[in-house]
Amino acid sequence: MDRIEKKILLRAPRKRVWRALIDSAEFGSWFGIKFDGPFNRGEVVHATIVGTAVDAEVAKGQKQYEGLRFEVTIDRIEPERVFSFRWHPGPPEPGADLSQEPTTLVVFTLEHVPDGTMLTVTESGFDKIPLARRAKAFTSNDQGWSIVVTLLEKHLAQAA
C-alpha cells in the first residue's frame, strides 16, 4: 500500500478552507505546529511541533514531540484548488539526518459542493520509506516498542 486517501466534507466556503491550508499560521494552529515562515512554491519551510490549539486531548499526545523540528517542501499552490507539499512522514526524530531519505507527497484538493467544500487529502510514496524508519513511528507507544524497533532494524540490516 503506497498511499493514503481521505475525503472530508467541510461545511465552510472554499475560500475559508483554502486560508486554513495556505496560511502557514492557520495551518499550524489546527495541525499543532509552528512554521517559521509563509508557504511559497518550491521553498522549504521549517516547522516546530507546538501542540494543536484545537484539541486538548490531541495536544497532550503531541506533548512528547513538542519542540521537535522538521521541514516541509512546498510543491504546488493553485489557489482554492490544490495545495501540496513533501515531508518525512511519522514523528520527527531528534538529531536524525533525514536529508537523504525519501519523502512522501501530501496533496490537498478542494472541491466546491452544495454543502460547503469537499476536501481530499492524499499522502503517497510510502513504498519508498525504509522499513526501519516506519518502525520508528512506534517508538513512542511504550518502552517495549524500542526493543521491537531495534529488532526490526537488525533484521532489515541482515536482509539488506
Binding site: I8, A12, T52, D55, V58, G90, G144, I147, T150, L151
Partner: protein
C-alpha cells in the same frame, strides 16, 4: 540483557532458559527475571515443553510494527477532524 535475549530468540527461534543462559555471562535467575518482565509487556511468551519452559517471541507486536500506514492514516483522521472544527467554528 533484554535486547540480547530478543535478538537471540529472533535469530535462533524458541529456546529454553538453559539455552538462553548458556554463554550469556548472566545468571539463570537474572535471565528469568528479564524474561518475566518482557512477558508482562507482551513481547515474549512461554510454553511448557516436557520438563522445560520454552520462550519465544510474540509475533503480534512485530506484526503491528508493519501497520505503519494505519497509524499515519489515523493521524490524518484526527488532523482533518481538527481542521473541520477550525473552519466550521
Amino acid at each position: 540483557v533484554r535486547l540480547r535475549l530478543v535478538h537471540r530468540l529472533c535469530d535462533r527461534g524458541p529456546a529454553s532458559i538453559t539455552n538462553l543462559t548458556a554463554g550469556s555471562g548472566v545468571t539463570r535467575q537474572a535471565i528469568t527475571k528479564h524474561l518475566r518482565l518482557m512477558e508482562n509487556s507482551g513481547l515474549v511468551r512461554c510454553a511448557r515443553q516436557g520438563r522445560e519452559s520454552v520462550w519465544y517471541l510474540d509475533p503480534t507486536h512485530i506484526e503491528d510494527a508493519r501497520r505503519y500506514i494505519d497509524i499515519i492514516s489515523r493521524q490524518w483522521d484526527s488532523a482533518l477532524a481538527r481542521l473541520r472544527d477550525f473552519v466550521e467554528r
